[in-house]
């Protein structure tokens, strides 16, 4: 499924967004925990993020677990990316848009806004080749950022947007090496 998310996943994301927005009305001290309740049933990474006082604290446990169930380790990693405000929506005067996500390694990945594509190796491998995952963590981070409304915004010229979209192709070409053109039989 490269074009849209399954309905059940969309619902899950909406519920998460609602939970966070509701909690956003709480005073800021209440939103940061320094002690993790022993009965919270999340993963080790989840505990780490909680201890840093991340967004996770705002989401009910059952939704976090559902997210982790559907997306595996990408779930917590995506939330971490959202926490760090790693998602940028880039637009040009034409109205065309594209996303860029600053990965945990410091590398920037380009993701299309209208369908599922990310320039990261995990997308190519887990999503496309092995069909293991629906989304990579960067695409999931984009969905979450949209719902949580914490995308950075960047405006560029039409020409710069073209260059951004073409940047990937130069990277791909480099990885594949020289082109071989098949001659017609």
């Amino acid at each position: 499924m490269a074009v849209a998310l399954p309905e059940v996943v969309e619902e899950l994301l909406s519920e998460m967004a609602a939970a966070v927005r509701d909690s956003a009305r709480m005073p800021s001290e209440a939103r940061r925990w320094h002690q993790i309740p022993l009965d919270r049933n999340v993963s080790q990474l989840g505990h780490e993020l909680l201890s840093r006082g991340s967004y996770l604290v705002l989401v009910p446990d059952e939704l976090l677990l559902s997210l982790e169930f559907v997306f595996g380790s990408s779930a917590i990693q995506a939330l971490d990316l959202v926490d760090r405000e790693s998602v940028t929506l880039i637009s040009s005067p034409s109205g065309r848009r594209v996303y860029q996500v600053l990965g945990s390694s410091g590398k920037t990945y380009t993701c299309l806004a209208s369908c599922h594509y990310c320039s990261c190796p995990a997308f190519s491998f887990s999503v496309l080749r092995k069909s293991d995952s629906l989304l990579c963590k960067h695409l999931l981070a984009i969905y979450l950022s949209q719902l949580l409304r914490n995308c950075q915004q960047l405006h560029v010229s039409d020409k710069q947007l073209t260059d951004l979209l073409m940047e990937d192709t130069r990277r791909i070409k480099g990885a594949a090496g020289t082109w071989t053109s098949k001659t017609e039989a």
Partner: protein, 278 residues
């Protein structure tokens, strides 16, 4: 009639007659010899040009040497003037064309057609590059739709010549199908019906949707005939008309099959008025 042919290719309008200017989901046209696909895409281009919602962008690697069809519609030059042809000679040039689509001047296309994807795939791209190409095609059509705004959406049809027997070997086909869940397969029709070239078109909007089928014939005079597919068809005969577009009898050719309100040149008007602007 020709509107219904466009629906064959743009898929989905037949299922949603109420939507104005809805182009339907992006469609992958598979199988068949290249010439049949080119003719079908060309027919769709002329039809969309006639709608007046926007221009048509026809992208293919090798320039068309002659008009693929010779029909009354094809001879209306004003339609052809709305079709913009681009001939990127490599995947890289094709990607550049799509990536810079937002820089191109008006009018915004209401239909984006890519003919002969297999020629670009013959360059042996990686899976990632093939995925990016598919995704960028979708993104470009989505951008055109955004620009068209109230004037409806931009349709997308990509033609890929494949051999049914060898389809498992077709590079990146499974990947392409993930980006294009709506597919129309053209297979040669054994019955032939004495025509120059007769094909069976099977349209599937998605894995769980019912299949709609048509018979497409290309006549020596350059005409094209589309009729609903009948398993026991031995003669093209006028059908009892009902409300679903899939059972309308269509012809772009010399014979005028009777139909509701058909003018003398054989082009039936769409009964749902999907062309009207809101």
């Amino acid at each position: 009639m020709a509107e219904a042919l466009r629906r064959v290719l743009n898929a989905g309008c037949a299922a949603r007659p109420g939507e104005d200017g809805a182009a339907g989901p992006p469609l992958l046209l598979l199988g068949a010899p290249r010439s049949a696909q080119t003719s079908l895409l060309f027919a769709a281009a002329l039809e969309a040009a006639g709608e007046g919602r926007g221009s048509v962008l026809f992208v293919t690697r090798r320039p068309l040497q002659s008009l693929p069809l010779s029909t009354p519609t094809a001879r209306e030059h004003w339609r052809l003037q709305k079709v913009r042809f681009q001939y990127p000679s490599s995947i890289q040039e094709l990607l550049q064309l799509l990536a810079s689509a937002h820089e191109a001047p008006a009018p915004t296309p209401s239909l984006l057609l890519l003919d002969g994807l297999e020629e670009y795939l013959a360059e042996d791209p990686s899976a990632q590059e093939a995925a990016y190409l598919a995704a960028l095609l979708l993104d470009t059509a989505a951008f055109f739709s955004h620009r068209l705004g109230a004037n409806g959406s931009c349709g997308l049809v990509v033609a890929l010549e494949t051999q049914k027997e060898a389809e498992a070997d077709a590079p990146h086909l499974a990947l392409l199908k993930r980006y294009f869940p709506a597919q129309c397969r053209l297979q040669p029709d054994a019955l032939g019906l004495g025509q120059h070239c007769c094909l069976r078109a099977s349209l599937e909007l998605g894995k769980l949707s019912p299949r709609t089928e048509w018979s497409v014939s290309f006549l020596p005079c350059g005409e094209m005939k589309v009729t609903p597919w009948l398993a026991q068809a031995s003669k093209l005969s006028p059908e009892k008309k009902d409300s679903s577009a899939g059972s309308q009898s269509l012809t772009l050719g010399c014979d005028n099959l009777p139909g509701p309100g058909s003018p003398s040149d054989g082009i039936l008007t769409s009964e749902t008025g999907a062309d009207s602007k809101t």
